[in-house]
């Protein structure tokens, strides 16, 4: 799995902890990493992902459908799932302010019938807004 992930573009380093099943991915400086690609690469290596969290810095924008999004690159943004923390980001929409957030991009659905779908669009559930 480590080799699968290290082959992904924008990945600088992959740290795997077998004891607690934790995989930490460090992106390259100024590199564009694709979390959906990481999920797919992990599944392709035969390992199931229970949860994917990321810390990212970007601008708060609204997409064409009016959804609040975190834009990390001009061509890369993540739709934000509404919660209490995301409501606090509303005033920053389309401002030049950049914000660093920690959020959950993927969580394996609970229950036998809900199969995990790595191809589903990832939504960012904000867990923490970091003060810089």
């Amino acid at each position: 799995m480590k080799q699968h992930l290290q082959r992904q573009s924008g990945v600088a380093n992959v740290d795997v902890s077998l004891i607690d099943g934790k995989v930490e991915v460090t992106p390259k400086e100024d590199g564009q990493i694709d979390p959906a690609g990481l999920l797919k690469a992990t599944y392709d290596s035969g390992v199931s992902v229970a949860e994917l969290d990321m810390t990212a810095t970007g601008k708060i924008v609204k997409d064409t459908s009016g959804n609040l999004s975190l834009q990390v690159k001009p061509n890369q943004s993540f739709v934000i799932s509404p919660n209490e923390l995301s409501n606090g980001l509303e005033p920053l929409v389309d401002s030049a302010t950049v914000v660093t957030v920690r959020g959950q991009l993927y969580k394996k659905p609970v229950g036998k019938q809900n199969k995990a779908d790595a191809s589903a669009p990832l939504k960012l559930l904000i867990l923490e807004v970091k003060k810089e």
Binding site: V25, P27, G31, A50, L52, Q71, K73, V98
Partner: protein
């Protein structure tokens, strides 16, 4: 003329700085079935 150039430089600087800072800094996954 100089002031105009200075203002343009400042505007260009403001436009680029947030783009340089914006990036994914860290990704962490919890996985199952790893041996």
């Amino acid at each position: 003329m100089n002031r105009k150039h200075l203002a343009l430089l400042l505007l260009a600087g403001c436009a680029f700085v947030p783009q340089l800072e914006a990036q994914i800094r860290h990704v962490e996954m919890r996985v199952e079935g790893m041996t």
